[in-house]
Symmetry: C2
Amino acid sequence: SRTIRLAVIPGDGIGQEVVAEGLKVLRAALPSDVKLETTEYDLGARLYHRTGETLPDAVLEELKGQDAILLGAIGDPSVPSGVLERGLLLKLRFAFDHHINLRPGKLFPGVQSPLAGQPEIDFVVVREGTEGPYVGNGGTLRTGTPQEVATEVSLNTAFGIERVVRDAYRRAQARPRKKLTLVHKNNVLVHAGHLWTRIFEQVGREFPEVTTDYLHVDAATIFFVTQPERFDVIVTDNLFGDILTDLAAAVTGGIGLAASGNINPSGDFPSMFEPVHGSAPDIAGQGKADPTATVLSVAMLLEHLGFAAEAAQVEAAVAADLTERAGARSTSEVGDALAARVSG
Amino acid sequence: SRTIRLAVIPGDGIGQEVVAEGLKVLRAALPSDVKLETTEYDLGARLYHRTGETLPDAVLEELKGQDAILLGAIGDPSVPSGVLERGLLLKLRFAFDHHINLRPGKLFPGVQSPLAGQPEIDFVVVREGTEGPYVGNGGTLRTGTPQEVATEVSLNTAFGIERVVRDAYRRAQARPRKKLTLVHKNNVLVHAGHLWTRIFEQVGREFPEVTTDYLHVDAATIFFVTQPERFDVIVTDNLFGDILTDLAAAVTGGIGLAASGNINPSGDFPSMFEPVHGSAPDIAGQGKADPTATVLSVAMLLEHLGFAAEAAQVEAAVAADLTERAGARSTSEVGDALAARVSG
Ligand SMILES: CC(C)[C@H](C(=O)O)[C@@H](O)C(=O)O
Ligand SMILES: CC(C)[C@H](C(=O)O)[C@@H](O)C(=O)O
């Protein structure tokens, strides 16, 4: 019998509520001979206000020994913008080298898209997770004065691009349509853009069956709303991936349904699964939040840990639930319904 | 009687065709005592292939003496990505300090939006045009090797941000809803983001009647498709503005209708007006391109040169034409129809 050590970081706002439902469904889905050992870490706004810390070194060390992390959401209006994002969420992504930030964009049957004509949408964005403008390399000069200058440096390495591009090709190769789109802005950000383009073409030679194309990020947003069915797998940089995956969530029925995995395929460090949505402080504590994005993130977690059948079961439960949704249900009602479907 | 010296840069692909119609409408709209002196500059792919140059110094000097520039589109598959964009289009924007990149997002009656429910959309994006990740400050190390590193530096100054933010407040103040939204990513790009946020708040004190809010760029894309009616004036950085205005064009009926102005309000250098769309080489030379975006850019040009009534007339002609469109018309048929409405 196998034991899974899962770190749980509920975080702020609705994080607590949605994570509770995610765990409910995870427990229902795991085979009975698998033991789930969860350790909850109280990180986020409360810890920050109490101690000034966002991610204590001791916690980071402990997390290294876990098999995976389930994260709810972080961020609170009482904490200056960037403190928890950089000090906790991005710190985990960088410390654990989560270079594959995987974000499916799928319009489930029964879900209303804001796009007229309910197009068929089923793609996945492979967002680079450890480079680009997210590296935190920037600064200010003459801070706070009318002469202030602020910089942000986007760092891109052949090594970092190649591993995420190869991962995206493999995913495209394994899907029926075998299509991969590179999104960047290589007509303006020529240094980073040409490096991405060169490696995209180089690695592509290993995957002759995969059809490829390239879109500038601005043009890609147009296709997301006018022709989302054209996309199969998309590979892109950290910032463009951030922007495109929120847009993807919007056109596939909202961030209440958008799942993500921050994956380190080497297994050297735990991968982390989280809904794309934020902490939504305006509706926190009211049992209103839709836990579906967290439950779909749990499906990705199961897949990552080798439970492919169980992952498919969770996704099927969500798909079935979505076709039958009518009227508002509470966070735990949705979680209960999904857990019941998975066990039943 | 007044003379207007207009530089015309048709550029590549459909640029030629749409600019011809723009000029037709401009001539029809100008008061009869105003003389229009146009000088055409053959810049773009042809010049580049012939001479290797993108913007000869002598041309740049000549352009300085013009009252305004009308540009069609630049870019061709035969030219490496970035050469014409950086060497011509961005060179003009930077050389003439076009710091206000103005891009209306308006859904005209009769135009089909890809969004269900045809929301009311009428906002304007004030995109910074001379800073941010567009400055061309980056490079590569170990170029072409598996150890390559590429950087892109986003440069942001209090001076540059303040002037565009103040311009956006003025525009918001002059509109009925008096609402201004700052879009950035200040939870990740903390240096640039906090500078934008600080100046946005500071300048806001001069405009107590303007209601303000802030959105991260990823969240903004969601609202563009789920609630575009919430926006009035948006101010944002060069790259976020690039992305958001293509998305804005998509939800308001496509880039065939999206106009833009690259404005230097000081008047020290000519401002430049251009459709948001590209050179569309796939349909070039076929008389298929919709010249409406160029005609609406001509309306912005008229407004900028002090012909407010004539600008309104051109916009009214477009609005009337759009409600009556049926069946495909050629580029020049649309131009003729608009010119006739304006003269009539
Ligand atoms: C909260 C923020 C740092 C984060 C990001 O920008 O990556 C979020 O938007 C996301 O997409 O996971
Ligand atoms: C062609 C390109 C350099 C340009 C930009 O990125 O600004 C275009 O996309 C635009 O929006 O005008």
